[in-house]
């Protein structure tokens, strides 16, 4: 680009782009900080969000720090903003410890905790951009997922 445009023009273009970025980004991210949406659900499961417990359903949005708990015969399937796919089996406790997805700044992280139960996980863009950023913590171990699909059982 620097070879095509003289310096002053280039500066001008950047200024325009920055303007566009500022006006578009604010409304898009102000009230929509969710990181995943529930896609499949077998009752009964609850989500603990900022100290409040509510029943899960298809379409429920999830946020960093949320904990999902499934009862017997229950299951929850989620697709996250980075395209990763998570499925929880029955009697599972799963916490989203950290979910950061700012690929343009190379600022990505997906850390979760499995305290009990079963989990199927397929990594998405976070794992593709930064394989060392996808981690699971269990009571006995830490998993580093370098792509793509893993199953975890914690007893």
């Amino acid at each position: 680009m620097s070879k095509i445009f003289p310096f002053s023009v280039k500066k001008h273009i950047i200024a325009i782009f920055l303007g566009v970025v500022a006006t578009v980004q604010l409304p898009a991210f102000a009230d929509e900080n969710y990181i995943g949406i529930v896609k499949t659900y077998q009752p009964l499961a609850t989500v603990l969000h900022s100290g409040t417990e509510s029943t899960v359903d298809v379409g429920v949005k999830l946020y960093p720090g949320d904990t999902l708990v499934t009862q017997s015969d229950a299951a929850v399937g989620i697709i996250f903003m980075d395209g990763s796919v998570l499925s929880l089996g029955s009697e599972t406790r799963f916490e989203i410890v950290d979910f950061l997805f700012k690929p343009a700044e190379r600022n990505v992280s997906f850390i979760s905790k499995v305290s009990k139960g079963t989990v199927a996980f397929t990594s998405g863009a976070i794992g593709r951009i930064s394989p060392e950023s996808v981690k699971f913590i269990t009571p006995t171990s830490t998993l580093g997922l370098h792509g793509t699909k893993v199953l975890i059982e914690v007893k």
Binding site: E32, D73, M81, G89, A104, S141, L143, I152
Partner: protein, 197 residues
């Protein structure tokens, strides 16, 4: 030291089924098998083969030797979770000329195909992500990638998709399909990726 490692491994296998963490590496929906490392305070095990598993019984013992599980055993352990997995997201790419955010005439059929797929899936959870190649500086490329994403989002809205279902993002040059050196023109990286979740 070697003896104790073997002992830990045997102990780990004996414990399988008891309290602890079992990790199994399996192929994803496209058949790809990745890698996963399982670490305790006492050691680490790397899984890199389809069906490979290890067991971490306690935090102060190394994870067990790798054991390959067959599909029956995997279904036994993970049947419920696997049966309730959401369908993997659908992905589409639309390409652009260098430095341009203008949609090319030949991307129209793909946009229509995509729109139909979105309707069939009844999805209201779609990202439209703009990318650039590495010609020019990253700041400028972020701007171009945003404009590309907006071009695609605008067309989808014109066809009839609600703007509430679209998450428009831009990664600049930071997420190439084909990694290149700086200032290299790469048509495959000048794209908008649409993910239908």
């Amino acid at each position: 030291m070697k003896n104790s490692t073997v002992l830990f491994a045997i102990f780990g296998l004996m414990l399988a089924g008891c309290s602890g963490t079992t990790v199994v590496l399996v192929p994803d929906a496209t058949g790809k098998v990745g890698k996963v490392s399982v670490k305790t305070k006492a050691g680490e095990q790397l899984l890199s083969q389809s069906g490979a598993s290890t067991f971490a019984g306690t935090v102060d013992k190394a994870p067990s030797q790798v054991q390959v599980l067959d599909s029956t055993k995997i279904q036994d352990m993970f049947g419920t979770a696997l049966a309730n997995e959401p369908a993997p997201p659908l992905h589409y790419s639309i390409y652009f000329k260098s430095g341009s955010a203008e949609l090319l005439p030949d991307s129209k059929p793909l946009l229509m195909t995509m729109f139909k797929a979105i309707q069939e899936r009844k999805s209201c959870d779609i990202s439209v992500i703009g990318h650039s190649d590495r010609v020019g500086d990253n700041g400028t490329n972020k701007g171009i990638s945003l404009k590309r994403a907006e071009s695609v989002a605008n067309v989808l809205k014109t066809i009839g998709l609600s703007g509430d279902c679209l998450d428009v993002r831009y990664y600049g040059e930071n997420d190439p399909v084909v990694p290149t050196a700086d200032n290299v023109a790469e048509p495959r990286n000048r794209r908008v990726e649409i993910e239908v979740r």
